[in-house]
Symmetry: C2
Subunit: 335 residues, 2 copies
């Protein structure tokens, strides 16, 4: 279960009630939810008559490894990736539901670290968003499933399908930084014979901001609503790399996207995933909202969904498939 240090009290010793008693005080539980945790379901207010929902499951092995990520990172990153999907609709995250399964021998420290990461991630990226409820269970390895709810203010959801030729293509947040962090972690893990020592990990994240960003990215969540209010025609979060995600947006909208020539040699920016920034299209001549920068234009549908200065992007791979690419579910690491 990685390096946890401190108390070796396990969740088996504490039982479900004792475990909850340790975790719940660490989480931002709302005073404004209509029903306290512990009833059959949570009840929370939602403005605007529509609820926005997204869900992501993270499994130790395929999705994260505890010699790289601290428990705090695991909780934080689960927030970043899910909140970004809500932001990408132009919505405001309002509540989080967390299901967690772990082996009975898991130290309570580990779950407390995840809870603190959830709390800190919400505080940094989505203030006011609370934990509505969840579930505790047992599993042979750590398994976290997060569902996030959000609400739309006075505008409609911003879909992937609304981009029109002539629109400006813009991004908010980092491009390729997470990929650079991932490469550093891989290189040092290989050097260390397959498992990264805790001291090396701590050193790497101190010396390389991109490692810290890979392990616990800060996503520009509040800019989702800002983009919607600024008239974004289409939006999505960049979780699998700019080229692949722009391809998806182009396909959904029936258009092609031509990226700036300045990106041509930036392979990490073009194909690196897990930055959880936002990719948005704005009508021609829009003043881009603060936090967004132009990276290209929407053009009529052509032979390529995505081009860079009119040419095919030079990238070595295009995406991640959880079933095909996870050659061993115990060691593979995404993307």
């Amino acid at each position: 279960m990685g390096q946890t240090g401190g108390s070796a009290v396990t969740v088996r010793e504490l039982g479900e009630r004792g475990t909850l008693a340790r975790i719940l005080p660490l989480l931002p539980l709302s005073h404004s939810t209509l029903v306290p945790p512990g009833d059959d379901s949570a009840v929370s207010t939602i403005e605007g008559g529509a609820v926005v929902t997204t869900c992501d499951m993270m499994i130790e092995g395929p999705d994260f490894r505890l010699d790289w990520s601290t428990p705090h990172d695991v909780g934080w990153k689960a927030m970043a990736s899910n909140l970004a999907d809500i932001a990408a609709m132009g919505a405001t995250p309002t509540g989080v539901i967390v299901a967690l399964a772990c082996p009975p021998e898991t130290p309570i420290d580990l779950l407390e670290g995840i809870a603190r990461g959830i709390s800190d991630g919400l505080g940094e990226m989505a203030e006011g968003c609370v934990v509505l409820g969840g579930d505790l269970s047992t599993a042979p390895q750590l398994c976290l499933s997060v569902t996030v709810l959000g609400e739309l203010a006075d505008h409609s959801a911003v879909l992937r399908s609304g981009a029109r030729p002539g629109d400006v293509v813009a991004v908010a947040g980092e491009l390729g930084v997470s990929e650079r962090g991932l490469r550093i972690l891989r290189e040092h893990t290989n050097k260390a014979g397959g498992v990264l020592p805790e001291t090396t990990r701590d050193q790497l994240r101190l010396n390389h901001p991109e490692v810290a960003h890979h392990l616990a990215p800060t996503a520009p969540i509040a800019l989702g609503v800002v983009a919607a209010e600024a008239g974004a025609t289409a939006m999505m979060d960049i979780s699998d790399g700019l080229v692949l995600d722009a391809t998806r947006l182009g396909e959904a909208s029936g258009v092609s996207i031509d990226l700036d020539g300045s990106l041509a040699d930036q392979e990490e920016a073009l194909m690196g995933g897990e930055d959880h920034g936002l990719l948005a299209c704005f009508p021609p001549d829009s003043v881009l909202p603060h936090g967004f920068r132009a990276v290209g234009n929407v053009v009529n549908r052509g032979d390529l969904w995505v081009s860079v200065a009119g040419a095919a992007p030079r990238v070595s791979r295009t995406g991640w498939d959880p079933y095909r690419d996870a050659s061993s579910v115990n060691t593979a690491v995404s993307p």
Copy 2:
């Protein structure tokens, strides 16, 4: 992965896109959701300004075993247990979010069976409730995390905390039937040396309705709203046995509950879980809604949270703790 028969095509061979292409047509995806599956998040309408949410994770091993449950059972039971938590608030289930992780070598048949179970369970227990979205991932064993959303009509949520002395205590649905099914399955599994042969399983469920009910319970979901409209003062679903769940309701309300003497010798009804019926309290002299039957009365708080004709219930155990009771996560079976 149990007995699946038929095609041996695996999810690894199909990849994520191919797997989704096989599963999505089997699910009740709504025409009324505001955003089609495939965008960053789902958007669905919700009436009444409040959203009711619940979540449950089911892991192969601790929560189900594939020599007992068919894939269809797994999907169906995930619906029954989660829908019951929505019904227990007096709410109507509107949407389901399903996260599923499985080994890459999982036959697609198995996931299709789960999808059909989800679809059939929703059709039988919560018509109009749709699948809003989900997530596919890899894990060493099958892992299903279900979140259900619901809406309240013109009334408030019915909490556990509203019972008052003098109220009638009533139940809807089965009591102890799932426990009887569980005992039959355990007995025949022990006889067979620890793993139940498929033919025995099929025979048992044909000959014993309680086995079929344990594996795929039909919960009285629509009666949740009915109870709320009839003025229920408190309600919860009976997932861990009548005595334990009535204790929780009594504690939340600060009252005691005295059950009918006719239940004194019915140990399975008193302590058996997983029937997912409803336990509700109604004001004195209420006409109970069709589908509910009186099983006791709310009394002033006494030494016992729950009594049977004034005496302590005679039961051999009171509940299930996922961490303490799962001595081996690979073989233990709840409740």
